[in-house]
Symmetry: C2
Subunit: 397 residues, 2 copies
């Protein structure tokens, strides 16, 4: 039996939606700026200018992948910060400029979006409409546009759902929203999509787009916000005016260089990565649905992340599944928010109309570049037995 | 002639107040969490729990140095974020709770404090009093207390000035402020002091204290906020509820582990580091004042950072001094904010009553653990000639 309890690297890691390993090529891209190139990019001397060039180069590379201008790229400390800056920044700027005080989002967003909108409601007097989704977790662009008011500042709709992998029709949402009220800004939380889904800001036509490095083999602690030229945005970190005033704070050059390298690597081989992920995902989906009685796929059957297989397993408890998988050396996720040992039922599954009793048995398996067929085989070999054990524990418990 | 134009490591680095190298021992403490221990600390499986343990350990170590509880330590993305969280968080929480809407700070704070207070004035309707300093940049505790009103939410006074090195009597400020109004919270921006000045939160008696890793040989991109138990603080990054809800965003485990290692290393040998810094600083101060005509020390003659020698050099232009020093392989700072090639006169020197014409010739030399007597010798050998050249360029230009 392999186990990740003892080993430093998990033998079978099927939780790439939670975080990814750091690609060794990314580590190599970072280390020169940890070890030697540690100057402050704001310094006038050569040692600082070297760090500045690394930032400029990273900005060019990220902009290039997104089809954006370098001046539209803001580096942040994480995807959560990117979402907070986009939503608070756009909402507060709109309020200052036009008195707008309404926000539209969906019921299945990540907490970095939902809790940020709630923060604006609770502490700054904003109003919000949370548009509902269908049973697959998809939002209807027309429903989003219908929620837009004359005083709407911002619409925020995620590109890919982190729990069930469903892709949202963001370009269609933008078209519908702008037809209703062209002044409204549209933000997309693309954190879960980054590295596996094409990201062209012209095709999506969004005003704001958030990314997080650790979802595509860069380290945890660096994010990106794309902000279209001319987008009114109030900075949320005040200080020395770095990132052209949009995000003060001395820049984390090694991680920014690593993020750019990771982003380039992902998009240089997007088709290959996506095909590999899709093939293993489909093996997981078919294998689990065949091998585990009363298991259902959650999220959209086809419009979903190439690497995401998510399930509701009736009569099983998600956390028990995870702990049993961990004993077998398999890292997976329940797709529901865990904190301090207690599992809350997923707000995403609830929004999709999944009954709480079934939502408690949620299981998310997300593959990565280094995932193999053998990993999938192993998961499919052990899961049915684990489910059976967990179910009988519930029955006899 | 040595030069840092070609070399990756500057031969003579006298700008430790801007940023420090990353200690190789800190790099070693970080790398295991980049290369193998990259799990998400929120995951329930063993691979995630390993990352969680690293965070817990780092929190214990930082708390131990500060004389705080682990539960009072929040890890952030930078010192600027720590200051923003402290000031916006405390001000907004106080407004929600009691309707307080006034802030007191000083005219010589870092922009991470000053611009944050101005942000609260401009966008959230707060009022602010900026207490003036004396010619050495020191604030009078009684003057701070006099500025406190019944509706004051927060007082923010830095521990050490980043430009001129002056130490503020923070403990005395806290005593005076709390005597005037015990409900008022006191924050100190200790970013520049971290690693060289004793930091005991009980002795200082502050409610909030901000630190930045890259000032004490950890990398750029990680900070600390100490928040005394029970301090009402509104989180500024909303999301997954990391850092007990005070700072959402997936944790940057490698940098947090590195910061804890660097902080421990600094405070394990505080006397040694401080003595080394003080000796070299005093050599710089005496050498520059003796060797350069019409140079004056800026900041307090004794109550100053052990590693900070700062000057106003009459008739010289700060940026020209820096570029000439760079040609000699010496990295230094003007101590004034540079952006896009234009040098603004320092708000700190202006607040201290230094005439603009003299403030333009500001020069800051800040030593570090790896600075040697030979580095000081070299600076003292070349500076007089550089000043002479820069002055004659001004006269003939």
């Amino acid at each position: 039996m392999r186990t990740c309890l003892e080993s430093s690297v998990p033998p079978i890691y099927l939780d790439h939606a939670a975080t990814t390993p750091v690609d060794p090529r990314v580590v190599e891209a970072m280390l020169p700026y940890v070890r030697e190139g540690w100057g402050n990019p704001s310094s006038v001397y050569a040692h600082g200018r070297r760090a500045r060039r690394a930032l400029d180069d990273a900005r060019d590379r990220v902009a290039n992948v997104l089809g954006a201008r370098a001046s539209e790229i803001v580096f942040t400390g994480c995807g959560t910060e990117s979402d907070n800056l986009a939503i608070k920044g756009a909402a507060m700027a709109a309020r200052d400029l036009t008195g707008a005080r309404h926000i539209v989002t969906t019921t299945v967003e990540h907490h970095a979006v939902l809790h940020t909108v709630e923060w604006l409601q609770r502490h700054l007097g904003f109003e919000a409409t949370f548009v509902r989704v269908d049973g697959w977790g998809r939002v209807d662009p027309a429903a989003v546009a219908d929620a837009v008011r004359d005083d709407t500042a911002l619409v925020s709709v995620m590109l890919a759902n982190n729990e069930v992998g469903t892709l949202q029709p963001v370009a269609e949402v933008v078209a519908a929203v702008k037809a209703r009220n062209p002044r409204v800004l549209v933000h997309t939380d693309a954190v879960q999509a980054g590295g596996l889904i094409p990201l062209d800001v012209e095709a999506l036509n969004v005003d704001l787009l958030a990314l997080s490095g650790h979802k595509f083999y860069a380290p945890k602690g660096v994010g990106v916000l794309y902000a279209r030229r001319g987008t009114p945005l109030l900075a949320q970190l005040s200080g020395g005016g770095q990132e052209r005033g949009w995000r003060s704070g001395t820049e984390n050059v090694p991680y920014v260089a690593g993020l750019a390298e990771a982003f380039d690597l992902a998009y240089a081989d997007l088709e290959g990565r996506s095909a590999h992920a899709t093939r293993l995902r489909d093996r997981l989906i078919h294998g689990v649905l065949e091998g585990v009685p009363d298991a259902t796929l959650t999220g959209h059957p086809s419009e979903r992340m190439p690497n995401s297989a998510s399930f509701a397993i009736k009569g099983a408890d998600g956390e028990s599944l995870l702990l049993n998988l961990d004993q077998e050396g398999i890292c997976a996720s329940s797709g529901s928010a865990c904190s301090a040992g207690s599992i809350e039922v997923s707000h995403v599954l609830r929004a999709m109309g999944v009954p709480d009793a079934i939502a408690r048995g949620s299981l998310r398996l997300t593959t990565g570049s280094e995932t193999t067929d053998a990993d999938v085989d192993r998961l499919l070999a052990v899961l049915p037995g684990i489910v059976e054990r967990v179910r009988s524990a519930v029955l006899t418990g």
